[in-house]
Symmetry: C2
Subunit: 370 residues, 2 copies
């Protein structure tokens, strides 16, 4: 299967993207020209470097000089201290405004790498080479970069688009199954509020997707990426329609925060968040049949058990969310399969719905949880 090529136009230019099997080969010439003769900084973590470092050796050889910057795995990379360490090393290594930065890894590596590139000397160009399903179909697209503060995930960052995104589908085969499952929740999210065909493709190909079939994964990644590109072009800084991509995220952020980011994976928290937002949707007119299809698909992917925090804890955490506004909590409410809308709901409404959802768990909603 040929790789699919996309382009995202944004206020400062354009991001060229390749997804699917053979994406890296398809991108090789453009990426090579981009690094040709320049200082190249490669941000990655030790595990990803061991698995996939070799696949960019040819690219690194075209740079004038390649400097590998290893960071800790996962969310631990996204600290002010790590950002400062990278900036200092880049400065010592003679980094200039025309140097390049390439982030090879999952969402955390991309979030940190994009932020570091965006601030170094007031901005050097960067490219993202996402190696996880979640990063390929969601995190790498749309120009969000960030690091964390204590008590504030992603609370320091930039909107800054990469020059290139390359999501090679064969890389996804090395992921543990639960990582692929977690990533699929973000694809289901995009399908359910934006793109019926994407949702139906996941329904029909789910077994192959969970098994790590590169062709099936590449096609879903390409379709989810295309849906996200459309909406980011419409609303680059999340002032309007882009907020639809937060379907399931209002509750998810609270669950992740209350779990200290050591409990559920992000995608899994989004899975729970979609179940709750679907219940909210039913109260606002979402047809029962569509709600049922979402629940069934979430059940088939499978959510791990979790202890749900108290309603009061959840509400207080939501109020501190960076997307909260003074007037209430912002929700993406699904209207029907393929369509959603953003609503600010009073805290009292959310409290009532959370209590009702909690009682229904184990009855309507199919996932194991306590």
């Amino acid at each position: 299967m040929a790789a699919c090529e996309l382009s995202l136009r944004h206020p400062r230019g354009e991001t060229r993207m390749w997804f699917g099997e053979g994406a890296l080969a398809a991108a090789a010439s453009a990426l090579g020209d981009w690094v040709e003769g320049r200082r190249l900084f490669v941000v990655t973590d030790p595990r990803v470097r061991a698995l996939h470092g070799v696949s960019i050796a040819g690219l690194a050889a075209r740079a004038g000089e390649a400097c590998w910057l290893e960071v800790p795995e996962g969310e631990a990379a996204k600290s002010v201290a790590e950002a400062e360490r990278l900036w200092r090393r880049m400065l010592e290594a003679g980094g200039k405004r025309d140097s390049r930065l390439l982030a090879l890894g999952g969402g955390s590596v991309g979030d940190l790498g994009g932020f570091v590139a965006g601030c170094f000397l007031r901005g050097v160009e960067h490219a993202l080479l996402p190696t996880t399903l979640l990063a390929q179909l969601d995190a790498a697209i749309g120009g969000k970069t960030a690091i964390d503060l204590p008590g504030g995930k992603n609370s320091v960052g930039l909107f800054r688009h990469p020059a290139f995104v390359v999501g090679e589908a064969t890389w996804l085969g090395t992921l543990p199954r639960p990582e692929r499952a977690a990533g699929l929740f973000e694809a289901i999210k995009a399908g359910f509020v934006l793109d019926t065909a994407l949702f139906e493709r996941i329904e029909s190909d789910l077994d192959a997707l969970l098994e790590g079939d590169a062709q099936a994964l590449g096609q879903v990644v390409g379709a989810a990426a295309a849906a996200k590109v459309r909406i980011v072009e419409e609303d680059p800084e999340e002032a309007g329609s882009r907020q639809l991509l937060n379907f399931g995220h209002t509750l998810a952020h609270a669950l992740e925060s209350l779990g200290g980011y050591r409990g559920l994976r992000h995608g899994e928290a989004v899975g729970y968040g979609m179940l709750f937002a679907t219940r909210l949707g039913e109260e606002h007119g979402l047809p029962a049949e569509d709600a049922g299809r979402l629940r069934e698909l979430v059940r088939r992917v499978g959510l791990p058990e979790t202890r749900l925090p108290s309603t009061q804890e959840i509400l207080e955490t939501m109020r501190r969310d960076k997307k909260a506004r003074e007037d209430g909590l912002r929700w993406v409410v699904p209207e029907c399969l393929g369509r959603g809308r953003v609503e600010v709901l009073p805290v009292s409404t959310v409290r009532r719905a959370l209590e009702a959802w909690r009682r229904s768990l184990g009855r309507d909603d199919p996932s194991p949880r306590v």
Copy 2:
């Protein structure tokens, strides 16, 4: 005298600016609407707060909540550690994407404040209220924000324009005379390569300017700001003509760096840098009469004595400058009064010119130095 109002259009919107006597009063209504009912963070230093905090008390009262964030005076504020401290305090204080940040102080407070605002929650709006001459006529205009790394001044930062700039001329009366003199070098710089009328105004009003006459200062600030606005609109990210504003800065950055930022003031280093760049200009056709007018004006403002580092030290420091390119050093070469051009000169040319300038010091160039 009425305040002068300017507007700078940039790729993401517009910055409204007021300069001169009465600028703060003229801006009060727009600034008040901007903070109305929101969380307002005021970044300042203790000395500026004591001198001018009272003048924004009315504005702070219109905010939903005002939180003062004091930082150390001068360059010491521009560290990663200070930025992180402010981000944490803003998060703890409940800062949201629709919060506002206002930087009241000199160039360092504005550089740090703009950077902190630009990264907090991927960007909150900010306003600059510059209180020094240098900051009013140069640093506050054009969207450059930055903090320092060890060995790399301004090496982490963003291009991000403020929503408002308010340069109240009466604030300039409280500055020590050497601060005003240092600020004037940046105005002379803009006049000499961009705006003959500005240069001639400084020539004719110099005594009043040095004495701190608010009306004379307000007029020069307004004219210098207008010249800078024109060129920033032409070239927002310094890819072309905006580089002209670096007249005198290639040498200045090296002198500051070699002095550990504890020797010459920035403006004074620019003064020396202009003297040298003028000599380079004469070798490339700058008329002797125009060169003489620059030297005479620099002499009248007055440069402090300094020990000039060795030619080798200067050249090595320049090569590490973030604006250096692989192919040589970038210079703004004056062509005649009111016009300059950017040239990449080979290191050997610069070395020869530096040696010649060094020999000429105390003979042609009028300033005291060793």
